[in-house]
């Protein structure tokens, strides 16, 4: 009897166009939209190193060939300047300059040919020369200018310390030199640390919560006081809980299948990098689905409200949770964490999103399992409440 209920319930889910749309096509469409929108943003944000010529103070062949200049009073400072330029010239995502050490004549020639944006002179203080004709390179020129201003500020600081506390000069220069380095984020799971990824996490969380539709249907069709189908089932010789369990399991199979398709689409079609924790990603989706179904089952079983009211309530709940987990505003979860931290610990969408996030950044799975445990407890509470209401055998009124 369980298999009979399960089989036909599953058939209903897969044939229900509304369910298929909201749980499969809508998330896929949204994911595709996110993908193209963020691809545009990434392209806009991509920064090419600024072609720059550097003319050292010891303007010689040795300098031009980038050999170490001889030690002098300013040797530490000179070394610091060159180290700074070299650090910003290092290949990588955060490379600022495409610098070439050269003579002044050659640098001017390159600037005239518009092969470089500006010339940095290792003078006292450092100078910048740019071409007024290159009006389309204002951003790059501005960056060079900012660099020079900041460097001069450091220079003055160093000069002051050199006169007042010369013994501390090496330490200060070392400290200032470190500032040009970037803090590199490291993933422990080969996952991408792209901030845009959190939008996809939120999208998956929203789809998990949309599984409420399955739980709602199971509840409505199990209660004689909520639907004619519930009445017909109620007078059949099948225990209500058995029939409801069949419907709930079929809801889980349907919604988890839809989520798997969404995940596969994200991974293989949109090439979203979820890292090496694939099994956990799918497990999180499964737990998220269970949570969504449980919420739907609980609200569906609660009271005699009209089906449309319950549906609207649950849809509003899903969107509310998704909004505060950052589906519409990326850093919303962080804001909520500052203002009302406990809410993130009970918001199912935030828990699902944070689980994905934890899988991407944390070496240990402690935070991940904490989130999963809370989701599990919330689901268990809702299921328990739903079962207590569905198991009612007689009604005061229909």
């Amino acid at each position: 009897m369980f298999i009979h209920s399960f089989r036909y319930s599953l058939l209903q889910f897969f044939r229900n166009k509304t369910q298929v749309f909201w749980n499969l096509f809508f998330p896929i469409a949204l994911a595709t939209m996110f993908h193209f929108a963020f691809a545009g943003l990434s392209a806009d944000e991509k920064f090419d190193p600024i072609p720059t010529a550097v003319v050292l103070k010891h303007d010689s062949a040795a300098s031009a060939s980038h050999e170490s200049p001889p030690e002098s009073d300013y040797s530490l400072y000179q070394n610091s300047f060159r180290e700074t330029i070299d650090a910003l010239n290092e290949p990588g995502d955060d490379r600022l300059f495409d610098a070439v050490y050269t003579t002044e004549e050659e640098a001017l020639s390159l600037l005239e040919k518009k092969e470089i944006i500006g010339i940095l002179y290792e003078d006292d203080p450092v100078r910048l020369s740019i071409s007024a004709e290159m009006t389309n390179m204002k951003l790059e020129q501005s960056i060079l200018n900012t660099f020079v201003e900041e460097y001069c500020m450091y220079f003055e600081t160093i000069a002051d310390i050199a006169s007042d506390n010369p013994e501390r000069l090496p330490a200060v220069i070392e400290s200032l030199s470190k500032d040009v380095g970037y803090i590199r984020e490291t993933s422990y799971s080969d996952g991408s640390m792209d901030e845009m990824l959190t939008y996809f996490f939120n999208l998956i969380a929203m789809t998990c919560l949309y599984a409420f539709m399955g739980g709602l249907q199971a509840a409505l069709q199990s209660q004689a006081n909520l639907s004619a189908l519930g009445t017909r089932k109620g007078i059949s010789p099948v225990p209500k809980l058995l029939s409801a369990c069949g419907s709930l399991l079929s809801a889980l199979v349907f919604h988890f299948s839809a989520l798997c398709l969404l995940l596969l689409y994200l991974i293989f079609a949109l090439k979203i990098n979820f890292g090496s924790e694939g099994g956990f990603i799918f497990f999180t989706a499964l737990i998220g689905c269970i949570a969504g179904i449980s919420f739907g089952f609980f609200i569906g079983s609660l009271g005699k409200m009209n089906e449309n009211i319950k549906y609207s309530l649950l849809m509003a709940f899903s969107m509310f949770c998704s909004f505060f987990s950052g589906l519409m505003v990326g850093n919303m979860r962080i804001l909520v964490d500052q203002v009302c931290p406990w809410f993130n610990h009970i918001n199912p969408a935030a828990l699902i999103t944070d689980s994905f996030y934890a899988l991407s950044i944390c070496q240990s799975h402690t935070r991940y399992f904490e989130n999963i445990l809370v989701l599990f407890i919330l689901s268990a509470l809702c299921c328990f409440g739903g079962v207590m209401m569905v198991r009612r055998k007689k009604y005061d009124a229909l």
Partner: protein, 313 residues
């Protein structure tokens, strides 16, 4: 002694202050087509829901096939079929799948179930619509599907709660024939409807209830004996003097005479040869008349006289 199919004793059901069933009694014998009549809100559906153990009740007892009915009485439920007033089918399942689903809640054996489903489809003549989804069916076909879902498992006791609401005459006729066929096959049927002619045509016994009470019960002939009106004689006549109307009123068994729109109506409370007596009087007074009708009281007359003519919700 035969065990009654349904026995309801002193049933009391309250919805807060409202008494929906007031010490209601009912006994339905095995093999009957039993009509349950009553105005809106009289307690018909509440009675059925109590018998089906869907509703709680405050007092009384309910037995089905001699056993007390509980929500867990699965053996009893297996013998019951219900055709609800509201169509209860799955929009995403075809005609065949819907019947198979509901039949499957009662019949485990697949081969037997397949046979029953085919028989139910043939019974309601939905063979050409097996693969149709409910949304593609007309109102009449949908009602027939609703019936098939309720009776496919060949129940011994069938509740039909207004199964012909919003159905065209052809479909209604088909449904009524089907109900009689089910009864011939051995099923006891409890039928509720607002269509008096249906109940009169179908039911072997009828109960009229109002305000949660059983006002009258019996065969249609027995019920008709309960009311004053036994015969109505209608005669088309151009005009009739007032003294003749008074004289007709004095004839035996006449208790009311009306003359309106050239139509003389004489209401009688029994007796024989009433029509001849009235016509003889008219001829003796040389009053010319046209068409003449003599009608026996209908169930509708019985219903209106017992439950009153005031409008209900």
């Amino acid at each position: 002694m035969n065990i009654p199919a349904v026995k309801v004793e002193n049933l009391v059901k309250r919805y807060r202050e409202l008494v929906a069933l007031d010490h209601f009694n009912l006994q339905i014998e095995d093999g009957e087509i039993f009509g349950l009549l009553g105005p809106n809100g009289s307690g018909k559906t509440t009675t059925i829901n109590c018998i089906l153990s869907l509703l709680t009740y405050d007092k009384g007892s309910i037995e089905v096939f001699g056993k007390e009915m509980h929500p867990d009485s699965y053996d009893l439920k297996r013998q019951i079929g219900v055709v609800l007033q509201n169509v209860a089918v799955f929009d995403e399942l075809t005609v065949c799948e819907n019947i198979d689903y509901f039949c499957g809640l009662y019949i485990r054996d697949k081969a037997k179930r397949k046979q029953y489903v085919n028989e139910a489809i043939d019974f309601v003549e939905l063979g050409d619509f097996r693969k149709f989804y409910p949304k593609k069916l007309s109102g009449g076909l949908l009602r027939r599907l609703n019936i098939a879902c309720g009776i496919a498992h060949k129940p011994k006791l069938i509740f039909l709660d207004e199964p012909t609401v919003a159905v065209d005459p052809q479909s209604r006729n088909k449904i009524l024939e089907g109900i009689q066929e089910l009864n011939r096959q051995g099923a006891t049927i409890i039928y509720t409807s607002h269509y008096m002619e249906e109940v009169e045509q179908l039911c072997t016994r009828i109960a009229i209830m109002d305000k949660g009470k059983n006002l009258a019960i019996g065969t249609k002939e027995e019920l008709k004996q309960l009311i004053k009106k036994k015969e109505i004689v209608s005669i088309e006549i151009l005009s009739i003097p007032e003294e003749d109307l008074t004289a007709i009123r004095e004839l035996p068994h006449v208790y009311e005479v009306r003359f309106q729109n050239h139509q003389l109506q004489v209401l009688l409370n029994g007796g024989k040869h009433n029509l001849i007596r009235i016509l003889n009087y008219l001829q003796s007074k040389e009053l010319s008349f046209g068409r003449v009708y003599s009608e026996m009281p209908t169930l509708n007359d019985v219903f209106l006289e017992i439950t009153g003519k005031e409008l209900r919700d």
